[in-house]
Symmetry: C2
DNA sequence: GGAATAGTGTCTGTGAGACACTATTAG
DNA sequence: CTAATAGTGTCTCACAGACACTATTCC
């Protein structure tokens, strides 16, 4: 312990790109209004790590505190570490490294927070967040969003909903296709998509009801 | 600056998996003998970051100081950040996060250090480092090596020598094939390999000389 | 010439992409 | 029946893998 004292230590923060797809909407990222610093700008939720805290824990606690998500909903979420942004002057408060994380959450888990908290969803255009009345995110967070979007698209390029954005079970291939189209901002041919994904899904044997046209098979993600 | 003081800060270190392929050898990782701690065990080179220092800078300085590489050789190297290992008890000296990095270096740049310094090359078996007389690396560094080897294999799976392990220019396809075979620990068919790589290379117009058999075309990496 | 290494022609199997076709529902 | 959506048959193209063939050197 002793000789460690000689070394100065940077402050370490986590910043989280929470990505979601609202109903009939494009891929979007969650922003919060920063209170003290940066004069109320929209930014990614984030906070400093606490004593002996793990990064992933800091991420989930941030979402509880700044976004108002319930601890139970977050329990099974596993944020992905993306990259450490270490430009020494990126934060004018001091020497701060930011460990950027990606977390994908179903829209339903965010809808309550969006009404009650100083929180918004910003559409992703290309790989950048578009916040109304604000050209860019503070602290170089545009780079974090870009990193997160690229990782997200890599994940969704060949595996059916790997981050669990739709229901665990009883979704149709069309719904899955819409989701991937929103995430990738590009449409697979529906028949190619079907043939590619079906071997990775489990057919529940059930059918959709109540819609127009032929009922669709309902699938669940394979374990 | 002021309100930052309230937050405790972890010590931040960098650990580097320096990967290379010795002549006719397998993919290998550079280990140094740790002096003070851990009783002289072989471990990855690493060190704490200094005030306002960037992680990549800490990596190159480590290689100067602990491996004796020349600053000029390192100037153009760009270490890749892999992952932050943040288990709070991974280092018994205190709360230390390790930012793991990958750096690929041509064997020639290491051969001098291997003779003069307390430094060795450990063969990669599967995705683990095999150090004689030592079952595992300290501080959970086996996980770092595994991370690095997987990333390295991903990089080398379809692009000709992306990290520049062979000469910039005037290498044959057979030499390139040997390199990829060592990194991947699996052999592409030579004709498939040729057809895949040639469009990504520049033919110098020169031919190899002095060997047995038909002279081979000499290539260089494309800009 | 023979041995050795470099490089190509070509067949086969697999899988994405395209598109037309069939299937099953509501109204 | 028509409209609408779900799902399949099948052709084409690209490309990896395999393997035999040709090409060019040293001895």
């Amino acid at each position: 312990m002793s000789d460690l004292e000689r070394f100065p230590a940077p402050h370490v923060a986590v910043d989280v790109a929470v990505l979601t797809v609202p109903p009939d909407g494009p891929l979007s990222v969650l922003l919060v209004r920063r209170s003290g610093d940066q004069g109320g700008m929209w930014a990614l939720p984030g906070r400093f790590v606490r004593e002996r805290e793990r990064l992933s824990h800091a991420v989930t606690v941030t979402l509880e505190e700044k976004v108002g998500l319930s601890p139970t909903a977050l329990r099974e979420m596993s944020p992905r570490q993306l990259h450490v942004f270490d430009e020494p002057d990126r934060d004018d408060r001091g020497w701060v490294m930011s460990a950027a994380h990606l977390l994908a959450l179903p829209f339903e888990q965010l809808s309550a927070a969006l009404e009650s908290e100083p929180v918004m969803l910003a559409r992703i255009d290309g790989a950048r967040a578009v916040a109304p009345g604000q050209r860019r995110l503070p602290y170089g967070q545009d780079a974090i969003v870009e990193f997160a979007v690229e990782e997200m698209r890599r994940l969704y390029s060949s595996t059916p909903d790997p981050e669990g954005l739709i229901a665990e079970s009883d979704f149709t291939l069309a719904q899955l296709h819409d989701l991937h189209t929103a995430v990738l901002d590009a449409a697979w041919q529906i028949d190619t998509f079907r043939r590619h994904m079906i071997p990775q899904l489990v057919d529940t044997g059930r059918r959709s009801e109540g819609g127009v046209g032929r009922p669709a098979a309902l699938y669940q993600r394979s374990a």
